[in-house]
């Protein structure tokens, strides 16, 4: 019935089991591009580049253990939420099914709009009992396909949970529901004399629950730090409907494990965040912004160091973009002009200061800039004289993403790297890709966060093969992170091993299993496919069975039944879908290798 067409080819790898630390992703065929995956070449090329960019979603297989939505389900949801909040309308669904970048498209048939935590809890309880997959959605402004369904997952949109629960004007602690739009919170706070500790380009549509779930970074990061520090508490609903009330409003609380941190940045894979409590800093009245030109990357770095030293307490943003990014904005965005004379500068830097005394801050900034200019760190620069000018400077930096969308296909990478090595990757990538692609580097220099963007006229697998896995390997090699602030989502779910050790990933998988045993929350996008190392041995044994049913049955009973559950699961999975191929990722201490197989 089954034949191991490859077994002799892959055996050498398996025989070396002692060096193998972890064998994971047995369900890599979810993602495996069956076409690219050339069975005959298995023996020669273990490393197969099937990471598909724009069409990744199409190549993943739907997890057969999930049920399909039926009329009874819809009826049940209508009972919980009322007719109005159960949306089956195609127009609304088509927007909710596609991400902001229009790169990932799901085919969900149902959008739910709960208005309370209780409703979220009931939805999840039901979905869990029915094994209906769920994708939590906020403003749907993510860049890695984490907020859209991959197949027919039920979309739970938190947008209707948008009330502000309380605000303490002394401590600046805001408690609100997850569906509040960031900009609305910011305007609410502005009236009270406070601001949100984060600010990002998508502020007009992104929701705080999504910001928390993705641990969004943004422009105020350098000053106010990560959400891990600013979120004082949250309320989340687990997959089985349990409501976890961790909505503390205390700055200090050392009692037990700080579990709320697990929900910050886990991209909705552990639970749905329904309420948050945030520490907000006071709004400072004096904001100054300078747009500067530097001749080389080294000057940008030195300028950052100097700015930290000399502007210290007032420095609130330090952003950079290269000449190529600037060109992109000037070419594709209307009404944007280069604030500096059009002579060629290689790098541009934005420095923002926020303080409490207008004239003192301005004097301080100007003195710093003039000194830096005399010292040769800055080649030229302008200082915004009013808010309008400041907005037009920010427009350049924030408009890069939009300009890239207009320019054609774009491959986006959000990396965290040591500042001094950051731009080297851009240069290497430029050399690697040649003139056919425009390689741009920009980002939050102050946080050592590089946005590497590659623009081509259209999506092309050969270009992609040139970029990946090179970019991940390079980043990993320099001990960087392959996702600084965008998250993993669908785009990078399987690249986690470039940034996290196998032991860490294992633990993540156990946590996922503990929180969401059926894996219904935001599937296909997290560490859920990863099976622990001891199972790798099981897999080897499974392969050894060569499809012989008796041997498989025997295997299920060995190990004191330890792997029985997995056997049943594997059997169900392979049989029900008659999958012809699968991939294993074998992580050794130094590198990652993929091994694939065909079961026909």
């Amino acid at each position: 019935m089954y034949q191991q067409a490859f077994s002799t080819n892959v055996k050498p790898h398996f025989e070396n089991q002692k060096n193998v630390e972890l064998c994971c992703h047995p369900l890599r065929d979810y993602i495996g591009n069956l076409q690219v995956f050339v069975a005959r070449n298995v023996g020669q090329t273990y490393k197969i580049h099937y990471r598909s960019f724009s069409s990744a979603a199409k190549l993943i297989q739907r997890n057969p253990s999930f049920s399909t939505l039926n009329a009874d389900d819809v009826k049940h949801f209508k009972e919980i939420l009322g007719e109005k909040n159960v949306i089956e309308d195609e127009d609304t669904l088509s927007t909710a099914n596609v991400d902001w970048m229009r790169k990932y498209k799901g085919s969900s048939k149902l959008l739910l709009q709960p208005r309370s935590t209780e409703e979220v809890s009931q939805i999840l309880k039901y979905c869990n009992s029915r094994r209906l997959a769920v994708v939590p959605q906020g403003g749907n402004t993510g860049l890695v396909g984490g907020s859209v369904p991959v197949f027919d997952e039920v979309i739970v949109n938190l947008g209707s949970m948008n009330s502000i629960i309380s605000f303490d004007e002394v401590s600046g602690i805001l408690v609100c529901e997850a569906g509040c739009i960031l900009e609305n919170l910011d305007s609410f706070l502005a009236n009270k004399g406070f601001i949100m500790p984060l600010d990002l380009g998508a502020k007009g549509s992104c929701q705080i629950g999504g910001n928390v779930s993705t641990n969004a970074g943004g422009l105020r990061f350098v000053r106010y730090g990560s959400l891990h520090g600013n979120i004082l508490g949250l309320e989340a609903v687990l997959a089985n409907g349990t409501v976890l009330d961790m909505l503390g409003t205390l700055r200090k609380d050392n009692t037990g494990y700080d579990l709320k941190q697990l929900f910050i940045g886990s991209e909705g894979s552990l639970g749905i965040v329904t309420k948050v409590s945030i520490l907000t800093p006071p709004k400072l009245s004096s904001i100054n912004l300078a747009f500067l030109a530097c001749k080389d990357y080294f000057s940008c770095q030195k300028l950052l160091l100097e700015a930290k030293r000399k502007l210290g307490e007032v420095l609130s943003a330090f952003e950079f973009l290269d000449n190529q990014s600037m060109d992109m904005v000037l070419t594709h965005l209307e009404g944007v002009r280069n604030p500096l004379p059009p002579s060629m500068y290689n790098f541009y830097v934005l420095i923002e200061t926020t303080g409490s005394d207008e004239s003192y801050d301005k004097e301080k900034l100007e003195a710093f800039l003039l000194r830096s200019m005399e010292g040769g760190l800055i080649s030229d620069g302008v200082v915004a004289q009013d808010i309008n000018q400041a907005s037009s400077f920010w427009r350049i930096r924030e408009g890069i993403t939009e300009a890239l969308m207009k320019a054609g296909a774009v491959y986006k990478y959000d990396l965290s790297l040591p500042v001094e090595k950051m731009y080297k990757l851009v240069e290497e990538m430029r050399l690697r890709l040649g003139p056919s692609a425009k390689v741009m580097g920009y980002g939050h220099l102050g946080d050592a966060n590089l946005h590497l963007n590659i623009s081509t006229s259209q999506y092309d697998d050969t270009v992609l093969a040139q970029i990946e896995p090179f970019v991940y390997e390079w980043t990993s090699g320099h001990r960087g992170s392959i996702s600084a602030e965008h998250g993993l989502g669908l785009m990078k779910a399987n690249e986690i091993h470039y940034s996290k050790s196998s032991e860490t990933v294992q633990l993540m998988a156990s946590i996922k299993k503990l929180f969401d045993s059926n894996g219904i929350l935001n599937p296909y996008k997290s560490a859920e496919f990863i099976i622990f190392p001891e199972i790798s041995h099981f897999l080897f044994n499974y392969i050894e069975c060569e499809g012989n049913q008796d041997s498989i049955a025997e295997l299920g009973q060995t190990n004191n039944g330890k792997y029985a559950e997995e056997v049943i699961w594997m059997e169900n999975f392979y049989l029900s879908y008659q999958l012809r191929s699968w991939v294993l990722i074998v992580i050794t201490s130094h590198s990652c290798k993929e091994v694939s197989g065909i079961v026909s």
Binding site: S285, S286, E358, M373, D380, V383, Q385, D386, I387, N388
Partner: protein, 251 residues
């Protein structure tokens, strides 16, 4: 020829205006103040005329409390050669401003006085016209294009009027007030900010200019415009017609 430009310090164009609770005016404390955008355009035009070799010096003038010096510094950083600060109370009405400007024109004798068509705080749109009247100079208001002829000593000004464009020919000296589309003001560059540090800002008082500040206007109350009422979604054409007829009284 010298060009004199008046620049006003106003609440920044991008700031959301809040009325003081006691209704005596709008909140200005802890609010970002900037140069009036129309004044910025006026200054830019003066600088362009100077750069084209048609003027020798650009003088920026501002009236009000000490903080107006910041606005003048911005003007100097944009490229004005020197500045005059008239130390006066915060609230000045157009006629007082026009009188002070006339007194300064009498001292400085510029060939051209360029102003913004209005300030975005009080939206008066009177100062340019008043000072032209006091000086008995020709005026070209709402200019969207200015062409200077040095030989003939005339300025040709395109004005944006309701029916389209009107072109005026003014004998110099003249008063020009600027409209939005005249030009796009420059940014203050670091080298210019540096240079501006050594430029002179002369301080004078209305008394020294023999101008008496008084107003015939009395401010009764400042209130916010009524808030827009929330809309309603109608479910049918009939309901729409009904609403239009009975609630909106359109028919």
């Amino acid at each position: 020829m010298k060009i004199m430009v008046a620049v006003k310090r106003v609440i920044d164009y991008a700031v959301k205006i809040r009325v003081k609770p006691d209704k005596t005016g709008v909140e200005t404390s802890n609010v970002k103040m900037s140069m009036n955008p129309f004044c910025e355009i006026a200054l830019e035009e003066a600088l362009r005329i100077k750069e084209a070799g048609l003027a020798s010096e650009v003088i920026a003038v501002s009236m009000g409390p000490t903080q107006c010096v910041d606005t003048l510094r911005t003007g100097l950083a944009m490229g004005a050669d020197r500045a005059i600060h008239v130390d006066a109370p915060a609230t000045l009405y157009p006629l007082s401003v026009a009188k002070i400007l006339k007194a300064l024109v009498d001292i400085e004798k510029p060939g051209l006085l360029i102003l913004g068509k209005q300030a975005i705080d009080d939206d008066c749109n009177q100062t340019g016209q008043m000072v032209a009247g006091l000086l008995k100079w020709p005026q070209g208001t709402f200019a969207s294009k200015v062409v200077l002829d040095k030989e003939k000593q005339v300025a040709t000004v395109d004005r944006e009027v309701d029916g389209g464009l009107e072109t005026l020919c003014l004998d110099l000296p003249a008063v020009i007030t600027t409209d939005l589309r005249l030009n796009q003001p420059r940014y203050a560059t670091l080298p210019n900010i540096m240079k501006a540090k050594s430029k002179v800002i002369k301080k004078v008082t209305p008394d020294e200019l023999n101008v008496e500040i008084k107003s015939d206007l009395e401010l009764v109350q400042v209130t916010e415009p009524p808030k827009r009422k929330a809309g309603v979604i109608v479910s049918s054409v009939d309901e729409l017609i009904d609403k239009l007829k009975n609630d909106a009284h359109v028919f």
